[in-house]
């Protein structure tokens, strides 16, 4: 089965007029990884990718697809089904263009929840060390101070001016403890 599907996936990507030839060369050389499929199956909500029957209902309302012609949630699912590891969780993967809007979750008749599969792929990319810097930056901040943003003297001044109570202590140690193995 995968021979024909693979050919389709390659030509569909090309039809999308991906201008970078480098990308096309990479695509032709893409190796299909079965370990990758197995790993995706074992990642929280990753197994859902198996239910995709390629209807394309997830595409029409996808804002990332509307604004970036090379982005297409159906093709992401197809590449997941084919085991295109490099394409999906290598450096500069297209998955990071997803806006997390959940429109595809609403539309999919198979309850694949494409956005959740994409989040599983993001988890795998983080594990491989190929995710954008912001991910590490913000999650490290959560683990270090318990919040995504830092508290500065300006914050305290503003809160006071607005008549708000001072900020409560964030139990960061407890956070670390529950995440330990």
């Amino acid at each position: 089965m995968s021979g024909k599907l693979l050919a389709n996936a390659v030509s569909e990507r090309q039809n999308l007029k991906v201008t970078s030839t480098v990308k096309q060369v990479q695509l032709r050389q893409a190796e299909i990884s079965f370990d990758f499929r197995q790993k995706l199956n074992d990642t929280l909500e990753g197994f859902r990718h198996n239910y995709c029957y390629q209807c394309g209902a997830c595409v029409a309302d996808c804002p990332a697809a509307r604004y970036a012609p090379e982005y297409n949630p159906r093709l992401i699912l197809l590449e997941a089904l084919l085991g295109f590891e490099e394409e999906l969780i290598g450096e500069n993967s297209i998955i990071w263009l997803c806006t997390n809007c959940y429109n595809c979750f609403e539309r999919c008749p198979q309850d694949v929840r494409p956005v959740e599969v994409i989040i599983s792929l993001k988890n795998m990319s983080v594990e491989r060390g190929t995710s954008p810097e912001e991910i590490a930056k913000i999650s490290e901040s959560v683990l270090k101070v318990g919040s995504t943003t830092f508290i500065t003297p300006l914050v305290d001044r503003r809160r006071k001016e607005l008549g708000l109570p001072s900020l409560k202590e964030i139990p960061v140690e407890e956070l670390k403890e529950i995440l330990e193995d």
Binding site: Y67, L97, F105, E106, S147, T149, L179, E180
Partner: protein, 291 residues
């Protein structure tokens, strides 16, 4: 009605004016916000969930467990917190295997997720438990003639099977709440478009925000009305950035719902922290004063 407020980092740290606007308006609706100790970041549904969904669920489970001890439903004020805590609450209530996994972790700090409370954005709790009519009754200075272009944002409504707030394709909740202040909610063609914040590209979110601002300008609204601090960030600071980057002249005030309600209840713009906004709200406050 007594609730446990979950303020979240964006509001309590970056946009405390939104916290102030809620605290100063909802007591008139008969709402008591009983703060509890011990919350951390929800954690955020974009970056932290992308890092590790299991850790994301564990941290969220801990926050819900903290609120369960106090015994009241959580109300959230940020669509990001709403997304994380509602989805995690749903998963942990439905999936016993995951609940056990999370509870094993929580046990180390003497906590347990029991699944005894609900999580809703405060606007949803107000609509369902208090009623839109009651909101209208607290209005002493109706915002007559103020045209508000609503930006729903994604995570109040979707995924609708879990959130169960409104029809995600034809929502009414925010328009109804805006109408209760005496203002006029105006439809615009991109009212349901995402703000683009989570998309990691240098120019796609820019183009989305430009289209959104232009969509609201096209219907001649006086301001944009919303309920999420992350969307607010994209549009308020966002316009300043876009003006510089693309030589635009955007100056559309962006107002959090409870700031509108506060004005309609007769509070001063300063008490609601409107002066902290990057795009000055003069257009709005002048119209309100004249109403």
């Amino acid at each position: 009605m007594k609730y446990t407020p979950f303020w979240g980092c964006m509001i309590s740290i970056k946009y405390p004016q939104f916290e102030a606007s809620i605290r100063k308006t909802v007591d008139k609706l008969g709402i008591e916000l009983a703060d509890v100790e011990g919350f951390t970041c929800c954690p955020d549904p974009i970056y932290y969930q992308a890092k590790d969904k299991m850790e994301w669920l564990t941290i969220a489970g801990r926050n819900i467990a903290v609120a369960e001890e106090a015994g009241h439903d959580i109300v959230t004020c940020c669509s990001g917190c709403t997304s994380t805590l509602s989805e995690a609450n749903h998963i942990l209530k439905e999936n016993t295997e995951l609940r056990e996994k999370v509870n094993q972790k929580l046990k180390k700090v003497g906590k347990e997720f029991k699944g005894t409370i609900r999580v809703r954005h405060i606007v949803t709790a107000i609509r369902d438990d208090i009623g839109i009519d009651k909101v209208a009754e607290t209005v002493t200075k109706p915002l007559k003639g103020l045209r508000v272009g609503i930006h729903y944002g994604c995570h109040l409504l979707k995924p609708s099977a879990i959130m169960q707030v409104d029809d995600p394709d034809h929502p009414a909740i925010l328009a109804d709440l805006v109408r209760a202040t005496g203002a006029e909610p105006v439809e615009h063609k991109l009212g349901l478009l995402c703000c683009g914040k989570a998309c990691m590209s240098d120019e796609i979110p820019d183009r989305m925000v430009i289209d959104l601002i232009e969509s609201i300008e096209a219907v001649k609204a006086d301001c944009m009305g919303l309920i999420c601090p992350t969307c607010f960030d994209e549009f308020d600071l966002g316009q300043i950035v876009l003006n510089r980057k693309y030589q635009k002249n955007f100056e559309l005030p962006v107002i959090y719902y409870f700031q509108l309600l506060g004005l309609a209840q007769g509070l001063e713009p300063k008490e609601l922290g409107l002066h902290f906004h990057k795009i000055k709200a003069g257009r709005v406050t002048e119209k309100v004063a004249a109403a």
